[in-house]
């Protein structure tokens, strides 16, 4: 019954190695090559800005992108499951949901660490994006809690898919309500859309996004394979139990 095949494959090893090399290059650029954010007040000449704390954004911003992408994949895979009813889609939804939850936690952690020196606070209730990200994290924690409550992964598939789709539909409502609630944010406007950053800083940020996508892909691939194995193991367990029961009946 044992298998020589593991969740690692030639492709995943290449993906993994590329991610590690990319991450090393990213760290090099983020810490040693790019400049800190130092600006000078036009009237007083005083220095201000994020200084070296800006180097955290090369991690924080890519994590945000990866988080939302993972949740979109989870939603699409959940819808796919409800249509196709195969546990390929379910495994993909589970993998993307779990990885998205992890990266969302990292967004909150890195955001909080970045916020301390820059905003002088670990947490800001009035910031729309902080609140929305926290709620998103809680939503998908609930999704994982629901999955974990079922012993049979196949029985969890439909409820989990429904919860994921409801959560994704509710996210714009949550964002809107939080925005109207306070109507203020400490967050600067979108880093990428206004293109205030340029040259090496922009390159490093883009590299950060690419590396994060590679890492996310590796994690989702392996998590998918683990979820697939869990499904197969459960099915095999049932088949073995039925076979054993048949043998007992035959002996009788």
């Amino acid at each position: 019954m044992t298998s020589s095949i593991t969740t690692a494959s030639k492709g995943s090893k290449i993906l993994g190695m590329t991610s590690i090399v990319g991450f090393a290059v990213l760290v090099l650029l983020a810490f040693f090559v790019t400049d800190p954010d130092i600006r000078f007040h036009p009237e007083t000449g005083e220095e201000f800005g994020q200084f070296d704390a800006v180097r955290l954004l090369y991690l924080h911003v890519p994590l945000i992108i990866v988080t939302y992408l993972a949740f979109v994949i989870c939603a699409i895979a959940s819808a796919g499951y409800l249509v196709k009813l195969t546990f390929w889609w379910d495994s993909m939804a589970h993998a993307a949901g779990e990885v998205g939850t992890l990266t969302c936690a990292l967004v909150l952690i890195t955001g909080s660490i970045w916020g301390r020196p820059v905003w002088n606070t670990w947490w800001e209730w009035g910031d729309v994006r902080v609140m929305s990200t926290l709620i998103l994290f809680l939503l998908f924690l609930g999704y994982l809690a629901l999955r974990g409550a079922f012993v049979n992964p196949q029985r969890a598939a439909r409820p989990a898919a429904i919860v994921a789709l409801i959560a994704v539909l509710d996210i714009p409502l949550i964002n809107r309500s939080v925005e109207w609630w306070e109507n203020r944010t400490l967050h600067q406007k979108s880093t990428l859309s206004e293109l205030k950053i340029e040259d090496l800083t922009l390159f490093t940020l883009m590299l950060g996004i690419l590396v994060s996508l590679l890492v996310m892909s590796w994690l989702i691939l392996h998590r998918f394979r683990v979820a697939w194995l869990e499904h197969v193991e459960f099915e095999q367990g049932i088949k073995t139990a039925i076979e054993e029961r048949r043998q007992m009946d035959n002996e009788d």
Partner: protein
């Protein structure tokens, strides 16, 4: 359509009759609601001005916590003796089951809201400046809470960890309702100079969306 409304009435009536006989709402949930109001008062050091300022938020948090109990109770009565299986096999439209249970929970929540409303007026000395806004928001918000609560109650039903799972699943999704209803109540109680009717419109919109989402999710669950 007539049959659908009749079935909804049947399910709602069944749940309410069970509630009237068991009196769980009166004996357990209402005292729990009162306890929450008292605990908030103690925790905030019974500072009258703070209690008045925060009355809306405290009211709606109390409603949400009581709603969890009401939803859990609503699912428990279906779990006993496999009653839900019997209901599904009886030929009643799943939509009628969903809407019927939603109505039953909403009516119970409405009673609780009236009880809590009196509570915040007496205990927190809140003053009602716009009764229509208060009543309208309370009505629509409890329908929204009930609709989403019913569907998540069904999802978590049958699981050993349903009591702890339901809050984790439901509360983050109800955040827009909490925000909208709290802001509308802030205006209705004269605590904030905002346009509460805009927030009521938001809550009303949410109610329509969440009820539709709940009905859709119920349809998907029923296919199983």
């Amino acid at each position: 359509m007539k049959r659908l409304f009749a079935d909804i009435g049947l399910i709602t009536g069944k749940d309410l009759k069970i509630e009237l006989r068991s009196r769980v709402l009166i004996n357990q949930v209402a005292p729990f609601a009162l306890m929450i109001l008292v605990l908030f008062g103690i925790a905030l050091d019974a500072d009258q001005q703070s209690l008045r300022n925060f009355a809306s938020g405290l009211f709606w948090i109390s409603v949400l916590l009581c709603a969890l109990m009401a939803i859990s109770r609503s699912m428990t009565i279906e779990r006993d003796d496999e009653a839900l299986v019997g209901l599904n096999l009886s030929g009643v439209d799943p939509i009628a089951i969903f809407l019927g249970k939603t109505c039953a929970i909403a009516i119970q929540l409405l009673v609780l809201e009236i009880f809590l409303g009196v509570g915040i007026i007496l205990l927190y000395r809140s003053e009602v400046e716009d009764l229509w806004l208060l009543v309208s928001t309370g009505l629509f918000a409890c329908i929204a809470i009930s609709a989403l609560g019913t569907i998540f109650g069904f999802l978590a039903s049958g699981l050993g960890v349903r009591e702890t799972l339901l809050p984790i699943l439901l509360l983050p999704l109800l955040l827009p309702v909490l925000i909208g209803a709290t802001r509308a109540f802030d205006d209705a109680l004269g605590v904030a100079a905002i346009n509460g009717w805009n927030w009521f419109a938001f809550v009303a919109g949410l109610t329509v969306i969440l009820t539709a989402v709940g009905a859709g999710a119920n349809h998907l669950m029923a296919e199983n």
